[in-house]
Symmetry: D2
Subunit: 374 residues, 4 copies
């Protein structure tokens, strides 16, 4: 089995998420990073590529797409890890040349771009994988499996939240800068950066779509141009209700993504900061702690776990699971075989729904938190 | 110091909250229960009164008010622990005769009654104490004190929730029965029974009032006539925003009242099920665990604590603190002295705001979760 | 049912444990405190008695015993809450006059006194109840019941610990003073004050006796005359093994009493600071959280619980359960009826074993932690 | 920077720890696995090597050492991940040929072998790195740094434990089989497999050595030939005392390694299953939660962290840190530069002390838990 040849757009020296993608791609040894256009600044692109020992270094993602598509052993897949506003243009170039795309979230910085990218993906033979990485956590898979099998009954209530505190004050460092600039991040601030994760997680775990929402967004830090706190009421198809809270101004919260789902037969709770635990209460019985690979954990979690229970896997392994699922799909394509049913990864449709979620939040908030449909 | 002579309305043999009030009144030995109209069923009133060894047993609260007011050593205060719809009529009888009232929440089952009761209280020399008992927990006092002193800065976000699971299915036992009957509980189900606690706690801790809210209420259990789940977005005076969730259909939650407050300088978190802990994060520093009577706990918590840190006080001691604060106020009245500034208890105004909260939730929900003012 | 007339020896104004006993006696309304010899200093005895509104105040416990025994409505029971070295002399006076004794732990300050007190109790018709209060916690009862019914199988390992930090430095306040004076506390410091609680809890929960132990005791604070840290290996009858750690010099621990029991079929864990929870793992299944009065809790816990699950009961309620069990026993004596099998309280034999435990720890430590039998 | 060429001995298809080593070596991209003698069964060695796409596959570690040493681009380092009894013979072959050794723990299965291996390492120019992987966790480094800088003062008490439950019953699968066979695992069962980790962790964090110990070991499962539970009292140089508990028969424990250290100025607590948290209590102040890369975390933790606080790193990243420290050391050798002071990894001396610990436990237990020196 030869490793999948991978390129990367974005992820230069001082970026955060590029390094995460590279580790994630490496953990299960299914990819080999060989080419990159790691920065829009040529010198930085060169320096960053050399630091990583890349075989082929580009100053520009379009050049990279054109050239790699022509090479005999050009890249088979590309990771796009730029700020949001670049996703569309970059992804399009690779999709149109049949190179699989693994793209960071949110899908794009505007809804118009998202729709165009969906078309581009539909017109392409290449795969599109969105790194809603939290769906890679084994116990998130476990929750989804339990819900799908009816263990908590009909879903009534979904509480999801993703508070952080790093933008409590007016920060000027790089990570903060582009994320609070609507030209680069899109119209949503916290809603786009982390609200989309919360929305995606709620939908992934329950298997339900949000039909409509009412959102009250705020930019609490003076001068901030995008929301840093979002309060959202959710109505799901089929009648379940929910609340979503995202915040970047909640001191004491690092990445406190948490989802709780309640049905007429039981409840489930999961928290990203302690990801190896899933709390399950069958109504009328004591709460149970299901651990990754431990007693009570099922197949869906087991197939994306690496080590025994009690040895925690973390964020990078969850992220790696998205890459490994992408590898499974790419290799099935290579081999012309059918993809195993158990393989799961966030698709471009999930990405579109994420951008629709941001768009709906912004529209609702502008109308005093009126209900809007997604 | 002689004990305050106390009567009780409601709280017969199979009631829950009456027994809680009696223990709460006893813990600090400031009251003596001497009279009661413990049930609206005469035989039950008699039997219940005898089981408690009461000196004077009544079949009817009005008789009790009339007679006790005339006795030389009649009751000085009365606890009203009936279903909600009886609060108004009962409280009025005692207030009009100068007998202090300690009343369970919500204040009344209708907003009209609440307003009338406020007038009755204003026209009376007697004190009115509402048992929003969670404000009696030492670490809730600690949180209030820290916020008042500016330790978390200007408040931006308040997240409060009170999920339970006991009404997940269609229950028919007594506690469930009257609480799900709008004629006795009022128009709010979960909003009235526990949402009011959450609302009161958020306001007590922050010192802020809710100006407007948007509520999406549901009765998930088929046939239920009042809400069993409430999702509410809050706007506080001064610009803070919040979310409130109350539910009686969330399996795995017993009495999971929890409040989190975030300002521009720090954050606080408290949970009723683990009430001796307060989590405090000064922005940019590690999270701290402040314990009741432990290092870092201040005067407001200390004056309502009885035992050393690490020896948990619980629900009954928190409840007792409301009784003891009532005793402090009653004794100051007796003695004609000024009440110590540190004494705090929920007032009839808090009760009115609680009924306004329920009313606003119901109105908002009927209008598709439109914003309504309190 | 008339309340049991209670006296108290010790527990004057600035004592800690006396106040705890008084609240504990009051919570379930089975006792009435009518007499006391609250201090060995006459003025303090008077002042303390008056502050409590006692009917009869004594300067001396012997006078009190003599006189109360002769009164028609003299006390039926006495609580002894003095420093340890007074327990024997005080208890003897009441036992010999047929007055029931409720005595704080450890039973006495010397093994010789303990043995004499056992004889005095055997010669008396009166009951002797030792306030090893942690056995009053509902979830401790739950653990005992589950173990007795075989739910964790044959016990192999028992880990028990009671760390505190209040004596980390050289304290001079009253509570610290007598507890670090071997003339008043006995030869054990931390072993006597808290190690005995840990020992008692381990034995109560498992139903096993410690056969022998090896103890390594230290007085880490310079100048301290009794141990402030104890490391003890335990061998139980039947082959189970255990470790016991008690410490008063472990910063970050308030009253972190905790017991863990492991058998060939499962495990149990309980911690005093979060006493409403019992963790139960049937081997090969997920860990379960059993809550007081919640799903999965049994009769033994239920009969000593007052309020619904999720409303925490605490230290005072656990302590009150000992008093209420004492009341059950005293009233059965009054009535000449047989005591309900479910009633449980620590006896003088438990007290003797506690003093034997201290004595064994001290002897073992003096012999370089050699094994000694109890 | 070219990757370090790595070989592996052991770690064939159905082994557990070999796969962990391979991921750990890959995470930071400093190694390239090129050769292996993955099994002592030739067919399995071949099949396993092919499955991994190794360039050079050997049936025998000695052949591998001989041949790789002669190759121009032979391996620079070898990972030894066999059962314990093979460590000595394998390591010796590589050390004597100047190939760096990264070896699993315990160092060897006998003390005699350990001493010989120390000599072999001293005689070699190659580095020897022992994968006491828990010392790679960032918050373990944090704890060590805080203790070294005096933040908890003079150490008095060290409580360390490593309970598991996987050998509660008589298991026959591969992982269980060799670990309970004294011929392959050595004389210690739980003491060797996990007790050594606990011992190493306590020493690493505190910077102290164990001078003597008293151990009470048991084989609770009938027929088991090595201990499955160990109770050990510790005496450290300088007067600190400790307890160590290791168990493989404690239901409800997966890999519950935990260390607590108490000094005269403060206390620290860390648990392997929640490794991103370090609890720190400065005496007399509230407990603080220091998180990996969060506020309050220092340089020692920061240099071995990859991602922001609140995104958990886990067991594999901790393990990877040992590999990356090894890479740092190997590259410094390559370059002839001095090794950065901050680099830390477990050495062969740590390995020797680990085997001495096992040996001391076994000797002490055979003598009824008498004190023995290490």
């Amino acid at each position: 089995m030869t490793r999948i040849r991978l390129g990367m757009v974005g992820g230069g020296n001082d970026a955060f998420i590029g390094g995460v993608h590279r580790i994630a791609a490496r953990i299960d040894d299914r990819f080999e990073l060989v080419a990159g256009a790691l920065s829009s600044t040529p010198e930085k692109a060169q320096a960053s590529g050399q630091a990583l020992g890349l075989e082929r270094i580009y100053d520009d993602f379009k050049q990279m797409a054109i050239r790699e598509a022509r090479l005999k052993n050009g890249i088979e897949a590309v990771s796009i890890v730029t700020p949001n506003h670049v996703h569309y243009a970059a992804a399009r170039e690779f999709l149109k040349r049949g190179i699989h795309v693994i793209c960071d979230k949110p899908l794009t910085s505007t809804l118009a771009d998202a729709k165009k990218l969906v078309k581009a993906a539909e017109a392409s033979d290449a795969l599109f994988v969105l790194t809603h990485n939290y769906t890679g956590y084994p116990m998130v898979r476990q929750a989804r499996e339990m819900i799908a099998s009816g263990q908590i009954g009909n879903i009534r209530v979904v509480q999801v939240e993703y508070p952080q505190d790093w933008l409590t004050q007016n920060e000027t460092f790089k990570q903060a800068e582009w994320r609070t600039d609507p030209a680069r991040s899109g119209a949503g601030g916290s809603t786009g950066d982390i609200g989309t994760h919360a929305h995606n997680l709620a939908c992934f775990v329950t298997g339900l779509r949000v039909e409509s929402l009412a959102a009250d967004l705020d930019a609490f830090v003076p001068g901030r141009q995008v929301d840093d706190n979002g309060h959202v009421m959710l109505r799901f198809e089929g009648g379940a209700k929910g609340m979503l809270w995202c915040s970047q101004v909640a001191p004491g919260n690092e990445n406190a993504l948490r989802v709780r789902v309640y049905g007429d037969k039981g409840g489930l709770e999961w928290a990203q900061e302690d990801p190896n635990y899933l709390w399950y209460t069958p109504f009328g019985e004591p709460k149970r702690l299901i651990t990754r690979n431990g007693s009570g954990a099922g197949d869906a979690a087991g197939r994306v776990s690496r080590i025994p229970p009690g040895h925690p896997e973390g964020y990078l392994e969850g992220f790696a699971n998205i890459y490994t699922e992408a590898a499974n799909a790419i290799e099935a394509r290579r081999a012309g075989t059918e993809l195993d049913n158990a393989v799961m990864y966030p698709t471009i449709q999930d990405g579109l729904r994420g951008v629709q979620f941001i768009d709906a939040c912004v529209r609702s908030s502008q109308r005093n938190a009126a209900w809007v449909t997604l």
